[in-house]
Subunit: 269 residues, 2 copies
DNA sequence: AACAGTGGTTTAATAAATGAACCGAAGGAG
DNA sequence: CTCCTTCGGTTCATTTATTAAACCACTGTT
């Protein structure tokens, strides 16, 4: 791990819940020496990646990232292209919908949209999502670059009793998703939430992210699952379109098959 | 300059005009060795600060900055607190208004708002502003931390014939601004633009940024200058309020005095 | 007064960054 | 076809910056 990565990984400890951190706190969180942490912070401060509250001496994320994020969103407008389909998805399903961006070594939640239909609903923190425990994550493992799986296999943090705890279980989850075309996670990240996801594609033809629905487990019915699947297909198709890509026919075929099998299952009930 | 700063300074070469850059281009821009630049880029890629277009092999700003910018804006909502006063300012003056954030070693343009009143108007690039050549910059030097002046003095890039080219001229500009309470720059950055600025304050009581109007020189009248000054006072007061601070009475006094002297000047005309 | 916290600084030991030279591939020009 | 340039990417001995223990100065508590 290079110095650059180590210094910047300090930034990962800042969050909406914890926007300002002191030197000592940061030392403990990063498990690093005080002198080193201090040097990192002053360096980051010199390039405006953090700034120091002059009275409390605490550090917070600096203004330089705003500028970079602006350039990114103006030239690769992921958020803009995702918002409307996301609202439609949330409204159609009555559950919380969110979009994540895939990037080399993980999945970043980009935007969430909560349905107003029910008073209980999932709340998505906009942060890095665990690959092995969320519908989006398993979807990324199923359809994204192969080297992601190695990253996922090394960090099987347990969140609930259902979280995949070994490589074999995770592999079974992944292969099921590769057959259905939908990411799926049954209370593996949060106790009462079931997740459904679909992959997104950009102009390069590669998988570029996921769109997902986080549903409250107690309200799930076969009809709702069906509705979520259909809405995910619509959302994935239009977001991929807005991102300059399109859903590969192989995935469309999977979706058509799993809709059919679902319909059959319902017929038999 | 530490490795961290050098690596991240690569990011400064990306812009809306030039969102994707190849390895060799970046080498030339950064005046760095190819091997070094390559290592920087792979490091930045590993932490999602840049991502590589898999087909063209070019690099662009990565998704990690979106997340950081989100946290920053959710916890220190500068942009949100600035937008409405900025729109009012642009509309009242008929010129382009913009807000910048002060940070240790410079001034970052945060948001610009163009008036639709005239077809010709100033366009503000959202980037780092030169301290010595803009109304906002001189305003920051006049009312911000003292060590900014040293930074400004070392980089007196010439933009127009009116740009301050020596420390004495700049000091004269600054002291004039310290007397009037308004940043001012007469065609020192762009040839036909006159800038007016007012300082902004946050909850720490320190200067936190500037709000400014970039006016087309050929349209300027005494009445418009008066209008701009008054609107800047309103804008600065309300943005500072939204940022959790307030304009110090010392500055309010300066404003009151310079309004009076302006009124007198107009009386005499 | 002793203690446990801060933020910040110095030190020799050590691990990391550096850049010239290099590779193979792709594209153009003669 | 060869020659030449430029591209992204790699190697390795040399140099340079990073590291972390110990240390200061300060503040509030017991």
């Amino acid at each position: 791990m290079s110095v650059v990565a180590k210094a910047i990984s300090l930034l990962e400890h800042f969050s909406v819940q914890n926007p300002e951190l002191g030197l000592s706190q940061l030392c403990r969180l990063a498990k690093k020496d005080k002198a080193t942490t201090y040097r990192y912070l002053t360096t980051l401060e010199s390039i405006d990646f953090v700034e120091q509250n002059p009275v409390s001496k605490m550090y917070r994320i600096g203004p330089a990232v705003l500028h970079l994020a602006d350039i990114r969103e103006q030239t690769v407008p992921r958020r803009e292209g995702a918002i409307k389909p996301l609202e439609i998805l949330a409204q159609a399903t009555g559950e919380t919908a969110h979009v994540s961006i895939l990037s080399g070594n993980g999945l970043h939640a980009l935007e969430a949209c909560e349905s107003m239909l029910h008073s209980t609903r999932a709340v998505i923190d906009l942060q890095k999502l665990p690959l092995h425990a969320t519908a989006s994550g398993i979807c990324a493992l199923a359809f994204g670059p192969a080297d992601l799986t190695q990253i996922a296999n090394t960090t099987l943090t347990q969140f609930t009793k259902q979280t995949a705890q070994d490589v074999e279980t995770l592999a079974r989850y992944i292969s099921r998703v590769q057959q259905s075309g939908f990411g799926f996670s049954d209370r593996a990240f949060e106790n009462d939430i079931v997740g459904f996801a679909a992959p997104l594609f950009d102009h390069t033809g590669q998988m570029a992210g996921t769109v997902a629905v986080a549903a409250v487990a107690s309200r799930l019915t076969n009809a709702l699952v069906d509705q979520i699947h259909n809405s995910l297909i619509t959302a994935s198709t239009s977001i991929s379109h807005n991102w300059g890509g399109r859903v590969p026919t192989s995935i469309q075929t999977l979706w058509a098959q799993s809709s059919k099998s679902l319909a059959e299952k319902e017929m038999s009930i």
